[in-house]
Amino acid sequence: MLSIDALHVTYGGAVQAVRGVSMEVPDGKVVAVLGSNGAGKTTLLRTISGTLRLHRGRVESGSIRFGGTDLGSRDPAQAVRMGMVQVPEGRRIFGRLTVEENLRAGGMGNADKSAKARAQDRVYEMFPVLKERRSQRGALLSGGEQQMLAIGRALMASPKLLLLDEPSLGLAPRVIGQIGEVIAEINRQGTSVLLVEQNATMALGVADLAYVLDVGEVSLSGNARELAQTDEVQRLYLGHAAEADHPHDRTRAASGKKLSRWTA
């Protein structure tokens, strides 16, 4: 579905944020991208969604193909119409708009009225709390509810591919678990997902395939379950660095330690 080939992205011609990244998101799958702060995860999503230019970023070389067509340089509205919608890092809901207006804004790129109505039903079904609070301002929602709203808002465009940028950021473990279930459910209903995360436990739990980004380059990739077993991922992302006593304690890994924010 999405195929990235030898992508190089820079900011202001100087900062090399993404260096020769190749990656595949097969139709109907959840693909996780792990990496610490500054690894280039957000940059990758900006390139796909067409918002790179707003940050003075530039694709130096490489290509992105979606469903067989080369994306070249197109604007975010075109990306949405093609079926790719990004949920930005930090949720970025419209705090002064009501929940319902946030959803309406999410459907703006969707010309098909009946598809929009169906999408809204689906969102309210998936997140009943949003329906209860539909006339409240977005700013009044809790962090977890705001993340639900951000995801629901993106679903209003009926995407074929959902791009999620660190949806677990700043949320309580219980809520992170819910987000994981929501992602699995969205995928089950037929939407492919590219999930950028620092919370490796959640991401690898829901993903089919995974890539590890390290300072702009792919350092590891493969089947998500297998990747979770590798020493490197265990050590760097599943919180087993200093725990020499329990180097292969799977239950601890599954309990969900947050990715340590190491620097290379």
Binding site: A77, Q86, P88, F94, L97, R104, A154
Partner: protein
């Protein structure tokens, strides 16, 4: 008391016209992040077009075409200049709009020359009395039309797709773009709406009790600026309150100028600016504003 009520009514009418212009400032600021100083000349362009055209095609067609011309001019300013400078500092953009304003104003003043241009309002220059309170027919009709337009504007702003898109991109442009909202379109439409509102205001502002289309109409556009600022440059409700406040203050100052003579003649023309400064001293981002002007 009668004099006070009469001044109040006239002030509200004037204020409603200021509010129309101020709403234009506010939505341009929200959609394009530009403080637009083009409004004085857009106003004059509206008045001039309507006056000139009504000599040949009659009043009503002239009004419609005049409004369209003003909206088109605003649209072109956005498309040809503002849109291409997206991302430039707020101050540079504001100065660019001053440049555009001066060019347009100079051309209009040249065209008006020493002509005496009048908009032949079918309602004439007479006045009506409501009880003991008197108001010019022109200002009474202005008040009604402005009230209808303001109500329509607020309804559209709250309920229409354009309103939701506008508010979303004003709050967070990048995220709005991620939703597929085309900011260029939202911005262009804001300029068009601002042009229409300015032209409608112009139609009434050059009628009784004001004498015809003169370059002085330009200054009226400038007086709506404090209305937008004191309401809060990013608040549509603020533009309405600010417009009314300025209109009423100006009318009262003009009406009681004999008592205020120690402040000098023509004091009423500076009242809008004094009110604005007084409000800003206490609330730097205006009555209802949330953002400082330095926003980038």
């Amino acid at each position: 008391m009668t004099q006070f009520l009469s001044l109040l009514l006239n002030g509200i009418s004037l204020g409603a016209l200021y509010a129309l212009i101020a709403l234009g400032f506010v939505i341009i600021f929200k959609a394009s992040e530009v403080v637009s100083f083009t409004h004085g000349s857009l106003l004059l362009l509206g008045a001039y077009s309507i006056a000139r055209l009504s000599e040949t095609i009659g009043f009503l067609p002239a009004v419609l075409v005049g409004i369209a011309i003003t909206a088109l001019a605003a649209f072109l300013v956005e498309r040809l200049i503002i849109n291409r400078l997206r991302g430039a500092p707020v101050i540079s953009l504001a100065i660019v709009t001053i440049g555009v304003d001066i060019i347009l104003l100079t051309e209009l003043v040249r065209r008006i020359g020493s002509d005496i241009l009048n908009v032949p309002h079918p309602w004439g220059g007479g006045s009506v009395r409501i009880g003991d309170v008197g108001i010019s027919q022109n200002r009474l009709i202005a008040m009604i039309v402005a009230a209808i337009l303001i109500a329509l504007f607020f309804a559209a702003f709250k309920y229409s797709n354009w309103g939701v898109a506008m508010r979303a991109s004003a709050e967070d442009g990048e995220t709005a773009a991620l939703m597929g909202i085309r900011q260029g379109r939202v911005s262009a439409l804001a300029w068009v709406v601002a042009g229409v509102l300015a032209a409608v205001a112009a139609l009434f502002l050059v009628g009784s009790p004001t004498p015809g289309v003169t370059p002085a109409a330009y200054a009226v556009g400038l007086r709506a600026f404090p209305a937008a600022i004191l309401g809060g440059l990013d608040s549509t409700g603020g533009a309405l309150v600010g417009g009314l406040l300025i209109g009423i203050a100006e009318a009262l100052a003009a009406g009681y100028q004999d008592q205020l003579l120690f402040l000098g003649r023509g004091f009423s023309a500076v009242v809008p600016f004094i009110v604005m400064i007084a409000v800003l001293l206490f609330r730097p981002s205006g009555l209802f504003g949330t953002k400082e002007l330095t926003r980038v």
